[in-house]
């Protein structure tokens, strides 16, 4: 190994991790809110054939790429603490898993 070699900053890579977790949390939030509020569910039906899943996923994709780009610019020269990144990522993914779990959003009185 070249001892003089300087590692690239971890910021852009960690930005991708947090962005993926944000997208997962967005899916969870929208899936739950769309079931609870009919109006939001209707609005999220960007495609009539696909239904509200179309809006949920398009918004989650947008959140993923936009937040990745934004955080990568913000952290392009920095090394955010790994523990903090792991904690944020774990919390967001847990929120995403909870929000997309049908038994969870049914707790809010959703009727099919």
């Amino acid at each position: 190994m070249d001892e003089n070699k300087i590692d690239k900053p971890t910021g852009p890579a960690f930005a991708s991790i947090v962005a993926a977790a944000l997208a997962a949390a967005t899916l969870g939030l929208l899936a739950t809110l769309a079931e609870v509020f009919d109006g939001l569910g209707d609005w999220l039906a960007f495609s009539g054939r696909v239904g509200m899943l179309s809006g949920e996923t398009i918004i989650a994709i947008a959140v993923y790429f936009v937040s990745w780009a934004g955080l990568a610019i913000l952290w392009r020269r920095s090394n955010p603490p790994l523990r903090l990144i792991v904690a944020i990522t774990a919390a967001l993914i847990a929120a995403g898993l909870l929000g997309t779990f049908p038994l969870f959003f049914r707790m809010f009185g959703v009727e099919e």
């Binding site: 190994m1 590692d7 690239k8 971890t10 852009p12 890579a13 991708s16 991790i17 962005a19 993926a20 997208a23 997962a24 899916l27 969870g28 899936a31 495609s47 054939r49 696909v50 239904g51 899943l53 179309s54 949920e56 996923t57 989650a60 993923y64 790994l82 792991v86 993914i93 995403g96 898993l97 997309t100 779990f101 049908p102 038994l103 099919e112």
Partner: protein, 167 residues
């Protein structure tokens, strides 16, 4: 053997892209797990990193292909073609839609986000993953998360298709 137009799309969704993603997991996992500087020669590290980049990139493409076809091609047919109605027509099978499909269609989307991030980490860090145990472990956990999401979606997809196929 005759497949209908929809069954060909179903094959591309579940077998080519989805199956490809799930079947690739073990190989890429072994490459990622074995990427340790102390266990490999310089050439071995370079080869592992190359395979890791190619494998994770291919899996990210497969994950995107699976969810895009699943959401925009298969799911509308499931909703309108009678498969959903057939499940909901009986209390014995309605939970396959109300729980199984609801969970599957959402959790599946976590796979491409996580798989794309894993591929980016492999490309961005490259050989540094062989030196830094914490970064390697983080990448490994995210990779397992992508697989877990895809596996749940794939399992429910296979079972729902078995009970009420999109034809």
């Amino acid at each position: 053997m005759h497949l209908t137009y929809r069954e060909w799309w179903s094959l591309a969704h579940g077998f080519v892209f989805g199956g490809g993603f799930l079947l690739s997991f073990a190989g890429v996992m072994i490459v990622m797990y074995g990427l340790r500087r102390e266990d490999l020669t310089e050439r071995g590290v370079a080869q592992h990193v190359l395979w890791l980049k190619l494998g994770t990139a291919a899996m990210a493409v497969a994950a995107w292909g699976t969810v895009i076809l699943g959401t925009w091609v298969m799911y509308p047919w499931y909703r309108s073609g009678g498969a959903k109605a057939a499940l909901l027509s009986s209390s014995q099978t309605s939970n396959w839609d109300k729980f199984g499909m609801e969970w599957k269609q959402h959790i599946a989307w976590m796979a491409p986000f996580l798989a794309t991030t894993v591929a980016f980490l492999a490309v961005y860090f490259g050989e540094r993953l062989a030196n830094d145990r914490r970064l390697r472990l983080l990448t490994l956990v995210l990779f397992m998360g992508a697989f877990g999401a895809a596996a749940i979606a794939g399992l429910f997809g296979a079972l729902i298709t078995k009970i009420s196929p999109v034809v």
